[in-house]
């Protein structure tokens, strides 16, 4: 996904003079050719994430469409107030693109984890949040985001699904069970493990790469009594929007995702998926227990 992000952004910089890129050292070497071609619109600020968002806000105030990029924990967690005030409060937009996700940098430990990024952005106003599950989705989503003027968060992951999915942000049924069976909503790169986990279970699986705005109408059209939400970041992040979507419909909700605890462990991203119950076996255990 990161490779596709770099290629797509470099092409956008070539094609659209409104596009600008602001970096805080992360990925700067990969963007060196683009910086050579567009020195005024590709700016590596050094390891200065607060400035990165401030500059993005300033660029947007002059009419440019800034893309700001870093690790999720630096692009969101560290600069929460800059996102709130330098973008939201100024009434301007930007495209914020992160790598690292919840624990892609597993060997670095908790300092480079950001399970709470989407939850933090969910406290702000009118952010579009994309969590692509495949590099092809990254390119589509990024090109569409740059063409808008809103505030968009594009959360890249190093754990892609096997296939690209939805064209837009609406829930897409990728496995249909019987009428009225539980609906499993899989967000972004958790789709592949979800599909592995449901073997033999009568459930419907719906996919989205866009948890904000959430496809409430799509969920209402699918939902039976039970809904299972599987997200690759903090468990329960989208419980609110599911509850709002189904506010007048009696339902049970199981929200799966990354736990809150700092596990103080390294290992691989796969190890962390297992420890958080997001590997196929862990997901299946949770599903079976909930649906029993």
């Amino acid at each position: 996904m990161r490779t596709r992000f770099i290629a797509t952004t470099s092409d956008l910089l070539d094609q659209d003079p409104r596009t600008a890129l602001v970096l805080a050292d992360i990925s700067s070497a990969s963007f060196a050719p683009a910086a050579t071609r567009h020195p005024d619109r590709v700016r590596n600020l050094g390891i200065r994430e607060q400035l990165m968002v401030g500059v993005a806000g300033g660029l947007a105030l002059t009419g440019l469409r800034p893309i700001a990029h870093s690790y999720a924990t630096f692009a969101v967690d560290r600069v929460y107030e800059q996102l709130k005030l330098d973008l939201d409060h100024q009434g301007v937009g930007a495209v914020l693109v992160s790598v690292g996700a919840s624990y892609d940098g597993s060997e670095y430990g908790y300092t480079h984890f950001s399970p709470g990024d989407v939850a933090l952005l969910d406290t702000l106003t009118d952010w579009t949040v994309h969590v692509p599950g495949h590099p092809d989705e990254v390119e589509r989503l990024l090109r569409a985001a740059v063409a808008r003027d809103d505030r968009t968060y594009l959360r890249l992951s190093a754990q892609p699904n096997h296939l690209p999915r939805a064209e837009d942000g609406r829930l897409q049924v990728v496995h249909r069970g019987s009428a009225g069976v539980p609906v499993v909503v899989a967000v972004g790169p958790v789709l592949s493990p979800v599909l592995h986990a449901i073997g033999g279970l009568d459930v419907t699986v719906a996919y989205t790469h866009t948890p904000r705005p959430f496809d409430a109408a799509g969920l209402r059209a699918l939902a039976g009594r039970d809904v299972v939400l599987v997200e690759p970041y903090l468990a329960g992040t989208s419980s609110r929007v599911v509850a709002e979507a189904l506010t007048d419909l009696p339902h049970r909700l199981l929200a799966l995702g990354v736990g809150r605890a700092d596990l103080r462990r390294y290992g691989s991203p796969g190890d962390h998926a297992k420890w958080h119950g997001l590997d196929p076996a862990g997901l299946r255990r949770s599903l079976v227990r909930f649906l029993r």
Partner: protein, 221 residues
């Protein structure tokens, strides 16, 4: 200035806590709007205007009074500071006030935004407008400023001028101009009540280097 602004300032009531902050900036903001800034209340969004960003959003009464005096909005707006339907709050909101470049009040945000505005103008081939940002000496305690100071100096952002109102509000005294010049800025200290000197100091920038003016207002009426 006094004849123009005093009656306007008197209409802004209800935020006495921030009156000293407002009082400390009144000469500076008036001198900028009266002598330096290329802005037009009839075209507050003109692409070729200078940008004046008030990062020091505490106590914006003086700023409101100057904008009203210069015709950016009706003087009647001054009579309802921070009321339920007022456009003027104790901290300013750019989306509510013509001619205001940024909303501020949480300290430490304006300089980063100003760097971005200067870069954005340069990227769009607009070398004419200058970008001015008003800071406070206490505000410079905020670390985000230092990211911007170091970067702007390193890349020689010559269209940027920072003006620091020094009313001794910082808990720990420091060399305000030195904070900038060590990173390649040009800079000077000026009497923050003397309009002629303010004008000369602000215009005293050098090509290819950002410029800082520390406006000393401590102990002055």
């Amino acid at each position: 200035m006094t004849d123009t602004l005093a009656p306007l300032l008197a209409r802004l009531t209800g935020d006495e806590k921030h009156e000293p902050a407002s009082e400390s900036t009144v000469d500076l903001i008036w001198a900028l709007y009266d002598r330096v800034l290329r802005v037009d209340p009839a075209r507050p969004d003109a692409v070729d205007r200078d940008r004046f960003l008030v990062s020091k959003g505490h106590g914006p009464h003086a700023y409101y009074a100057v904008l009203a005096a210069k015709g950016f909005f009706p003087e009647s707006w001054l009579d309802d500071l921070a009321g339920p339907d007022s456009r003027l709050g104790h901290h300013p909101d750019r989306t509510l006030i013509p001619g205001m470049e940024i909303g501020s009040g949480s300290l430490g945000h304006g300089l980063g935004l100003a760097v971005g505005v200067a870069l954005g103008l340069r990227a769009q081939g607009l070398p004419g407008p200058r970008v001015y940002v008003l800071l406070g000496d206490g505000e410079l305690d905020e670390g985000a400023n230092h990211e911007a100071i170091a970067y702007a100096g390193a890349v020689g952002l010559g269209s940027l001028t920072a003006i620091v109102v020094d009313n001794r509000s910082a808990s720990f005294r420091q060399d305000l101009v030195g904070l900038f010049t060590v990173h390649g800025w040009t800079g000077t200290t000026v009497d923050g009540r003397d309009h002629d000197r303010i004008e000369r100091a602000v215009r005293g920038h050098a090509p290819g280097r950002p410029h800082v003016v520390a406006a000393d207002v401590a102990g002055r009426p």
